[in-house]
Symmetry: C2
Subunit: 338 residues, 2 copies
């Protein structure tokens, strides 16, 4: 078993300095690739570092410089692949630059997000990445007084605190609604998860309904559950909706997880798609391409959004002024389910 007791004092920069026969400051300079160090000294120091297995203490460094190189990344969920991909994009960029992501998961709960923000402030992150433009008043206040760059991602319908990298969820919903109307659908339903929590899904639905209205249509039926969206929920939701409203000719889903679940219901129950029923989702998940009939959906640039969010933070920290708002748009994918 690993011994926890007897904390051997860790090796410090002073230890390295002593062994190399120089001052601590010189060691610090070598480690920071400072120019004003002679080759000879540099070599001596590097040898001492290697000999002792010295690992710099970033806590101490960050305390002195007041720069942590810690980036707070707060996502609503890790239960489907969407936010992990945002995180992956951000992390790839941050890691390459010597920054470290610290994560928080809000469960689509703005109160919880607020608590996470409050707690994370204590680490003095060099930057913040958050999902969405909606936050509690106190969360907004905290982020406004924070002196580090803040990027809100995955949405562009609203005012950012500082910077935003995303796309219009409302417009995505509109585009889908218009598309279904254009392709002759008239009896349209909706299947979604808990919209009070996923505010971006709510915006898509709102945009969707607007587009229907502009075409003289309205949502005939809707299934929403107080649960997180999922394949099984989409499947069960569509089954239930069709039972009550067998005459629907199109269904819009809150996202692809739900839509793929819906498609699976149709395949299992022999509901002809798109002949009898059209299905449309959102996100552009890979599974939507792998199903026998490619799903009609919208691909959100999730990975790219994460990457750009990180890049914008780094640019700002480097003294540049990247665009405050970036609307990356999205790709409408006309599949075989419409």
């Amino acid at each position: 078993m690993k011994e926890q007791s007897e904390q051997t004092p860790s090796i410090t920069l002073e230890d390295v300095a002593r062994l190399a026969g120089v001052s601590g400051m010189t060691v610090s300079r070598v480690l920071q690739d400072h120019v004003n160090v002679s080759e000879q000294t540099r070599a001596k120091v590097q040898a001492a570092v290697a000999a002792l297995g010295y690992v710099p203490n970033r806590l101490a460094g960050a305390l002195t410089t007041a720069k942590t190189r810690l980036i707070a990344v707060i996502v609503p969920s890790l239960s489907n692949i969407v936010f992990p991909e945002v995180l992956r994009g951000a992390n790839e960029c941050l890691e390459a630059a010597g920054y470290q992501a610290v994560i928080g998961v809000s469960d689509y709960d703005l109160e919880k997000e607020e608590r996470i923000i409050a707690a994370m402030r204590a680490w003095r992150p060099s930057g913040w990445i958050l999902a969405g433009l909606e936050h509690t008043p106190r969360a907004l206040q905290m982020l406004r007084v924070v002196r580090s760059p803040v990027v809100e991602v995955m949405d562009s319908d609203g005012e950012p605190i500082d910077m935003a990298v995303g796309f219009s969820n409302t417009q995505a919903g509109r585009d889908t609604g218009q598309f279904l109307a254009d392709t002759g659908r008239r009896r349209v339903g909706y299947v979604g998860g808990d919209l009070c929590r996923d505010l971006r899904a709510a915006k898509r639905r709102k945009g969707f309904e607007q587009a229907l209205a502009e075409n003289g249509l309205e949502l005939e039926a809707s299934f929403t559950a107080q649960q997180a969206s999922s394949f099984l929920l989409g499947r069960a939701g569509l089954a239930q909706l069709l039972e009550r409203h067998p005459d629907l000719d199109a269904v819009y889903f809150s996202n692809d997880d739900m839509a793929v679940g819906g498609l699976m219901h149709c395949m299992g129950a022999g509901v002809e798609v798109p002949g009898r029923l059209a299905l449309a989702g959102f996100n552009g998940l890979e599974i939507g391409e792998a199903v026998p009939q490619r799903l009609t959906t919208i691909r959100s640039p999730r990975y790219r959004i994460g990457q750009l969010a990180a890049e914008h933070i780094l640019a700002r920290l480097a003294g540049n002024a990247p665009p405050l708002r970036l609307d990356l748009g999205y790709e409408f994918i006309t599949g075989q389910t419409t």
Copy 2:
């Protein structure tokens, strides 16, 4: 635009002390819920904290106490839902205890994992969570000399550095091989991603082949690609395998992403499952339950593993000695694809 210049010096514990008319030490005691503080003083301090909007600096605290409450979590991938779920389990537990996860992504590359470990040491994490029992010699060395608890997750086939929470991938593969043999399959193929990188998938395949051998069978055909596993790769892989070996009567996939892709190929191409072909996967993803024919697979307790890993670290830090190795097993799901 946000002002970056003129760094207003941040509010410190001394500022709070001054306003409350006490010493810094007393403020510190109040913030740590120390017992020896009078109610009156406590109230004064709390009022000052609120008035100034004081946020303690954990960098400074951690530097003094040599306890960061930072937990390094290094996962191989964020490209499918498996490790995000491990991370979710760990984070839920850590967050509740006031710990903070800092993440790294190794891309299934042990060299990269080593670099991440090397870099993360500088933050002096209070604990480490890593995937798998295989690491580079230098990574092993670094983790052995680290004085904080280390938990290796998602595997139990091998020797852990410190603690391990997982299951036997080899046995999972064996069970699947035995099951296919028991159900009369004789011409068995394999479809997987890059096995040099995903070592746990490689163990499953090895166990699978062992079980076949024990039943007088061997793998008739195999498709492996130098890419990450995915739905589309599974679909294309199975298509290719069946083209070359149309007489296969069962295929084992490296995981459920691949297997669901394979099933989609069968549904699209009219390959009768399980009549003509049996399919088996691994992980127990939700999508495997939502497809028209429930996938035969093994559910790995991913969320629970993340949770337990975190709990064990916390227990160790609290002075307890939790079990060094925990084999959580798994659930074999007999679906409708076999």
